[in-house]
């Protein structure tokens, strides 16, 4: 029995104190959905998910400067401001390490930022290690992202899809039907934002599927890690593929973002839709979504540490 308890204890949490610097640690957790590593080095805490191809950096926070966006693609998610500069209700599917949340709440203190997370351990780590506390303005629902969208009737100004499980995207969150369900929950001038990974066959199928549902899709390529942020709207005019038609943020918001988010740099991440490859790609539907085989992890934010 003691042996069993010992094995269970080890499988649930392995904590190794680095020892050199007081307060530094590396902890590993095998949850029912993920293998997670959380590491503190000085004031920076990183959350990583292990997969067969290494560790993907999910999120990071500088505890001395919690508003700082530490992971490049979380900056690119803010491209949503070009399409809907005054989000009052935001739905984020996939909590990660809540790296996006702190700056958003500071910039839009009156906005609702609803998160949906499947893995309870991820929420627990956010609360205990990553200095994120859910509030009435930043609630977290522990459920499947598709179930939430189907059952919740709120109209959202931004819907951000950033859900990964062990490095892979659950197939049912990648289909035309799911994007239609998201579009139905998007306000008229809302924007659907999705974190995609370039360099995979899945990438082109993703874009094709999003374009099937949303008439206008704009891509932003995050430098370095292979992340591409797709912003999609359900209206046809004005032409949002032209930056001159993008909205600008209010001065009060811009002041909060200043120094932490370079909107000009994000504008420069604008990339062309790879039309040829997208035309050849297969549409993902509930009936056909071999997402795992289209190799979602190929250029995930996994990289040498």
């Amino acid at each position: 029995m003691k042996m069993l308890q010992c094995v269970l204890g080890l499988s649930v949490a392995t904590a190794v104190l680095a020892g050199a610097d007081a307060g530094n640690y590396v902890e590993s957790y095998d949850t029912i959905y993920n293998s997670l590593t959380i590491e503190r080095n000085g004031s920076v805490v990183e959350l990583r998910a292990r997969s067969r191809r290494g560790e993907a950096l999910e999120s990071a926070v500088d505890l001395n400067d919690p508003l700082k966006l530490m992971v490049a693609y979380t900056r690119s998610l803010y491209a949503g401001v070009f399409f809907q500069p005054k989000p009052a209700r935001v739905l984020m599917i996939g909590l990660g390490g809540a790296g996006f949340h702190r700056l958003f709440s500071a910039a839009y203190p009156d906005a609702l930022l609803q998160s949906v997370e499947l893995d309870p351990k991820v929420l627990e780590l956010c609360e205990t290690r990553l200095a994120f506390k859910p509030t009435a303005k930043t609630p977290v629902a522990l459920t499947d992202g598709r179930m939430f969208v189907k059952r919740d009737k709120t109209q959202w100004d931004w819907i951000i899809l950033d859900a990964f499980r062990g490095g892979f995207v659950p197939p049912h969150l990648k289909t035309e039907e799911y994007y239609r369900e998201c579009a139905a929950r998007l306000s008229d001038r809302g924007v659907f934002i999705s974190n995609l990974h370039s360099g995979t066959e899945l990438f082109h199928s993703d874009i094709k599927t999003i374009k099937t549902v949303f008439p206008q899709v704009v891509l932003f390529e995050t430098a370095g890690r292979g992340n591409v942020i797709a912003c999609a709207v359900k209206y046809r005019t004005p032409d949002m593929t032209k930056p001159e038609n993008w909205g600008s943020v209010e001065n009060s918001v811009a002041q909060v973002l200043a120094g932490r988010l370079d909107l000009v740099a994000i504008k420069e991440e604008l990339m062309e839709i790879p039309a040829k490859q997208v035309a050849k790609a297969r549409l993902l539907t509930d009936d056909f979504s071999p997402v795992e085989f289209l190799d979602a992890m190929k250029t995930n934010n996994t990289g040498p540490k």
């Binding site: 598709r146 197939p171 049912h172 539907t285």
Partner: protein, 201 residues
């Protein structure tokens, strides 16, 4: 019928059963997600169907020949009918079940029972009858039982691997459900013919 045909039928029964579980997960996920509770319900439903089907099949193999024959037809018809329902109305049924239950867990359980329990239980009734068939042909019961369940389990493995790595990446789930129906019809027709007279060496 040569021995190899008998084992081909047994392997195909195994493929049909466990390959169907992988298809089932793809059918369920748009409606209920693919979290661990969905898999728990799905696997439990299949195991319950294997259990009930095996017990029922064991009982059928001891019936007198005429009742046994009609029971075999009934099981085959149940398998065809339920696979047909899943192929033709599966998605629509899942849509109704999804909105009909506020509890996701209860919805998944009902969906699994409605779509997967009957076909898998019906297919499972034939394994004990295959053992009975070998016993009638003079194979010792222990050896026959080991052969049938061993070969059938190899079919289970083939079903999981084939469905996961070949079929799902290349074909629509709806198409595969009709393939399952067609293969079940052919396989059970051959098996019913085989079970009529034991002619193995």
């Amino acid at each position: 019928m040569p021995l190899i045909a008998f084992y081909a039928i047994v392997v195909t029964l195994g493929i049909l059963s466990m390959g169907f579980q992988m298809l089932g997960s793809r059918l369920l996920s748009p409606h209920f997600g693919s979290a661990i509770d969905v898999w728990a319900c799905l696997i439990s439903t299949f195991l319950a169907a294997f259990s009930l089907g095996s017990m029922l099949g064991g009982a059928i193999s001891n019936f007198d020949p005429i009742v046994r024959r009609w029971s075999q037809y009934a099981c085959a018809f149940a398998a065809f009918g339920s696979l047909l329902v899943t192929a033709v109305w599966g998605r629509a049924l899942l849509g109704h079940i999804e909105v009909g239950f506020s509890s996701v867990l209860l919805g998944v359980l009902v969906a699994c029972l409605a779509l997967f329990f009957v076909p898998v239980a019906a297919l499972s009734t034939f394994s004990p009858q295959c053992v009975h068939y070998l016993a009638q042909a003079g194979v010792a019961p222990g050896k026959g039982s080991g052969l049938v369940y061993g070969v059938s389990t190899l079919g289970n493995i083939a079903g999981v691997m084939l469905t996961t790595f070949v079929l799902i990446p290349n074909f629509r789930v709806s198409t595969l459900l009709y393939v399952w129906l067609a293969v079940a019809v052919l396989n059970l027709a051959a098996l019913l013919r085989l079970l009529r007279t034991p002619d193995l060496p």
